[in-house]
């Protein structure tokens, strides 16, 4: 269980990382926290010839609130974000989701940006990014671009990253006032990969009805998905248990989960229904507190 041989380069800037990627393209992988890549290398599922270490790039581990969004830089660790007052005050669902990733010794190294680039379909952070209509900022030899989450996550471990691009930031637009949110997942044991995960946001209008609902699910397809039919149904409804139950039923029908060694398709649908219903109720209760 040792990685195959590789050559190592520590980039000192994003530009240098892009240059190294441009030069070595398919042979190279980027290393940030390494908590997904290195196990794959130890298992020889991944055998990059060159590893470009991003960890020596200075001043790229910040978390900021600016222009109505939370921006997380490429080297911000999951544990930093989980504990960040800025995150807890502005986007508490992100801290709630991160607390369910692996264990603290994994979160101390793992990065948020790296989790999105790895794009495991059961991962928590991509689901939160999708739920808030966030985006990923990329820097490559052709310049900078911001890719909305729905265009970034393309499938099983596949993203829109070009071979010479480095993801530098995640941008999470902050939900409007009156929004409550909840992240729930089910795994066999705490810290295991989620079988199904749900990010739910509910925004209540002044009359107490649902002005907007956002539902993103992990573990039910090749990439995280929004349950748009359930969202459309919930909009305008009173925030009450019958609406949450029907929204959850719709969400469990519109997803296309697959059977695998962990769970059957039917089990995942049932789990999705249960988790969506609970997450909607919790998000709505938190929205009421937000309004009050």
């Amino acid at each position: 269980m040792k990685p195959a041989s590789f050559r190592y380069a520590a980039a000192r800037s994003v530009t240098e990382a892009v240059d190294l990627l441009s030069e070595h393209s398919d042979a190279a992988k980027l290393l940030a926290g390494g908590q997904s890549l290195v196990p794959m290398m130890n298992l020889r599922l991944s055998r990059p010839e060159i590893l470009i270490d991003l960890n020596r790039i200075p001043q790229k581990d910040g978390i900021y609130v600016e222009r109505g969004a939370l921006r997380v830089e490429m080297l911000a660790r999951q544990r930093s974000a989980e504990r960040s007052e800025l995150v807890r005050a502005n986007l508490p669902i992100l801290a709630e989701a991160i607390s369910q990733i692996g264990h603290s010794q994994i979160r101390s190294r793992g990065t948020l940006v790296g989790s999105c680039c790895h794009a495991d379909p059961s991962a928590e952070i991509p689901a939160v990014l999708a739920a808030v209509d966030g985006s990923v900022r990329l820097e490559g030899s052709q310049g900078l671009r911001d890719v909305p989450s729905q265009d970034f996550f393309l499938g099983f471990f596949q993203t829109a990253l070009a071979p010479d691009e480095v993801a530098t930031d995640l941008v999470f637009p902050l939900p409007p006032a009156g929004t409550g949110a909840s992240f729930l997942e089910f795994a066999r044991r705490h810290g295991d990969f989620a079988i199904v995960g749900v990010a739910a946001l509910v925004t209540l209008g002044s009359d107490g009805s649902i002005a907007r609902a956002a539902l993103a699910l992990a573990g039910v397809g090749p990439a995280c998905v929004r349950a748009s039919q359930a969202e459309a149904f919930l909009t305008g409804k009173r925030a009450e248990p019958t609406a949450f139950a029907e929204g959850a039923r719709l969400a469990s029908q519109e997803i296309e989960p697959q059977s695998d060694v962990q769970a059957s398709e039917g089990y995942r649908r049932e789990l999705a229904r249960t988790l969506v219903e609970r997450a909607l109720a919790t998000a709505a209760a938190r929205a009421v507190r937000e309004v009050a």
């Binding site: 269980m1 040792k2 990685p3 195959a4 041989s5 590789f6 050559r7 190592y8 380069a9 520590a10 980039a11 000192r12 240098e16 190294l20 070595h24 190279a28 290393l31 390494g34 908590q35 290195v38 196990p39 130890n42 298992l43 060159i50 590893l51 470009i52 270490d53 960890n55 692996g102 264990h103 603290s104 010794q105 994994i106 101390s108 190294r109 705490h190 810290g191």
Partner: protein
């Protein structure tokens, strides 16, 4: 910059300066065990799951099987050998011994390093907080009860020491 097969690193391990030319693929766990002879850091799953290889890097608990030695130029690493040094056991180690918190002992270094970091950050934790903090460490002998008891006892010991010093 040209990617290298071997990388020169200079770091401190348990307070001692170390300088080595390491193969790029050398994990920190293998570097500690095979290059430095510090066999207290155990390798179990080598994929980040079991926690046996947990060490502190710049005070932060992490998996040494998922970190490359080549990345650690300038870092300060602490392993289980660095807890007591040549002197007395730490209150945590003492509590593990008193509470019979190990049987085969294979997982123990990882538990000690995780709990050392945890108690430094949270000196008077609840039992639930202890269980959450230890959830990333796997023990196949003890059933965890004695380990949790030992960490609770160590937390009490630490508090008493702090009162004495105050």
């Amino acid at each position: 910059m040209e990617p290298q097969d071997r990388v020169r690193v200079q770091l401190t391990v348990n307070g001692s300066e170390v300088s080595r030319l390491v193969e790029a693929r050398r994990t920190l766990a293998d570097f500690l065990r095979d290059d430095l002879g510090l066999r207290g850091t155990h390798t179990g799953c080598e994929q980040g799951v079991c926690g046996a290889c947990t060490v502190l890097v710049d005070g932060v608990a992490m998996r040494s099987c998922l970190t490359f030695a080549a990345q650690l130029d300038g870092a300060a690493v602490q392993t289980v050998e660095g807890l007591a040094g040549d002197g007395d056991l730490t209150p945590l180690q003492e509590a593990f011994r008193r509470r019979h918190a190990l049987q085969c002992g294979y997982c123990t270094p990882g538990f000690l390093m995780t709990a050392t970091e945890f108690l430094r950050e949270n000196p008077s934790p609840s039992e639930q907080e202890i269980r959450t903090a230890l959830s990333g460490q796997i023990c196949r002998c003890t059933g965890y009860e004695n380990i949790v008891q030992a960490v609770r006892e160590a937390a009490g010991t630490l508090q008493a020491d702090q009162r004495r010093q105050a």
